[in-house]
Subunit: 317 residues, 2 copies
């Protein structure tokens, strides 16, 4: 019996309140990638929606709940943009706290969606502290990514779309940051297609959750050093780790050069511009071809909000 | 009563012989494009298949027919790659004749699929002549894009997927070259969703088929001058023009700078790398925003085989 904070019936219900623009994202075999990866690869394309990341699924669930008329969140960029989008459409006042080192593209899009944006002179963890201060001071809801169950349930609807697809897959590669997507999708896969392997992928330069998973206790790190800004946390949330321990078959760490090679493959062979976090799955295959040889692997391309200049620098020439 | 060389029942049958890798391509509202275009835009993504263009649908129909064990075609690049792919999978010997000025990417991919590639020192029309010579000399089947009904029927299966989608659309923008996609998709749309407008789009620098449609007789041109290599023909085929006259509500010509702006929008807002021909629909909206304002428009992103260097030059900076 799979016991996590998630519940598949509740996830199915969550799907009812999410704007269909975020549901049923493209899922397709990407044969053009396969010679380079040595296995059958399907892409779940979570960049083909209004906020170009999977986060809108969760923020739709949050914004559709009755009650709050103002919320604040810390964000590496994608959650903030998604919350701003959902909030604007549903009359919810949104404040986003982000690092001033976040990609300009992400910050610009948050502003463009009329959210209040506050920048902190530090990393994501400092933004979390500041968001909590604002929530306390203003008496508004603090949306905590991965801890708030709606963020996990929203991401988990990706899992429903994966397990409903034919043919079934052998493994799913999920970018691991705070853990909303990994625990959400992982829960559904373990519940509905238990034979499929759930593999989380994190950068070597931001390994806190993976180290925690391996040691079965919260391990924090002092700093992060990765271009995959979307998954660069240092302080795993205990309740999320508990769920991850129940649904993940493995958690792997990949090098920066593999992430870049993954972005380049997605660009050159799939014609997709993705942010570094979205290339973690491809990076994991590149680092361990033998493990995946001959299998059918799904990778969730989870976000496409990347500074064009940086993307060109990473993938060019 | 819609009378063209096409038949919707035959198109449904064609779907049965096409490798599922080419069917059910992603179709999604691309909200990120909409502020720039002023209308609701859905993308039909024909680059998410093994040959990164819609041509595989038609070549699958050709290669699944009994009889021929060797074929030759002229190609701007995408038909050749698709025929090589289908031929390799079904034991069909494939020769492709192309212009030596075709994008290197397209030529390389044809070679990589084990087809025999012959280059002519001229444009697509010269390649057509040379392919016909080879067919006569070797006694093998000449595959003629847009004339051979399988190429139209294959492309027409895109139309089935469009008319089956909900919500229905108001207009579909189709890149116009030889006419296989325009007559194929146009036939199905006019047959199944007659209220939707079928609009063909061609570059001003390669206007032969559009001029022919407007004058209701074949008009040839002496030269082409466009980056949209995939649609750069000069000599429309009479039977295809006849069909186009029955299914197209309009044929419009767009400027090169609009094609480039379209490619840049698809890159910056949709995260997609596409070849120039695939940006014709977006270019048409950019040139006539008023016409499309408030409507729901589908554009078929028909190919993604583009030299990376050229793409970077067109869209960069």
């Amino acid at each position: 019996m799979l016991t996590t904070r998630l519940d598949t019936a509740r996830i199915r219900a969550a799907r009812q309140v999410i704007d269909p623009l975020f549901l049923g994202s493209p899922l397709y075999r990407c044969v053009a990638l396969e010679p380079g990866l040595g296995c059958a690869v399907s892409i779940k394309l979570e960049t083909a929606n209004p906020v170009r990341s999977f986060k809108g699924r969760g923020t739709e669930v949050i914004a559709s709940a009755p009650g709050a008329d103002a919320v604040v969140c810390a964000s590496a960029g994608n959650l903030g943009q998604a919350l701003a989008w959902s909030g604007r459409n549903r009359g919810l006042d949104v404040t986003v706290v982000a690092s001033r080192f976040a990609p300009v593209t992400k910050l610009d899009r948050i502003r463009a969606l009329d959210a209040r944006l506050e920048l902190v002179d530090g990393d994501f963890e400092l933004a979390r502290e500041r968001a909590a201060d604002i929530a306390r001071h203003d008496g508004i809801r603090l949306v905590e990514d991965s801890l708030d169950i709606e963020t996990c349930e929203g991401a988990a609807t990706i899992g429903l779309e994966l397990v409903d697809a034919a043919p079934p897959f052998d493994a799913v590669l999920i970018a691991l940051g705070g853990g909303a997507m990994a625990t959400g999708v992982g829960h559904v896969v373990k519940d509905c297609l238990p034979g499929a392997e759930v593999i989380c992928v994190q950068p070597l330069g931001a390994p806190a959750m993976t180290l925690s998973w391996r040691e079965r206790r919260v391990v924090t790190t002092d700093a992060t050093d990765t271009i995959a800004d979307g998954v660069a946390g240092r302080c795993p949330i205990p309740a999320v780790l508990d769920d991850l321990l129940r649904v993940a078959d493995d958690a792997v760490l990949v090098r920066e050069e593999s992430i870049i090679a993954g972005m380049r493959m997605l660009l050159d062979h799939a014609g997709l511009v993705v942010e570094p976090s979205a290339a973690l799955g491809v990076a994991a295959i590149l680092e361990d071809r033998e493990r995946f040889a001959g299998r059918h692997v799904v990778t969730i391309v989870c976000g496409g909000n990347v500074d064009p200049e940086a993307h060109r620098r990473w993938t060019g020439g």
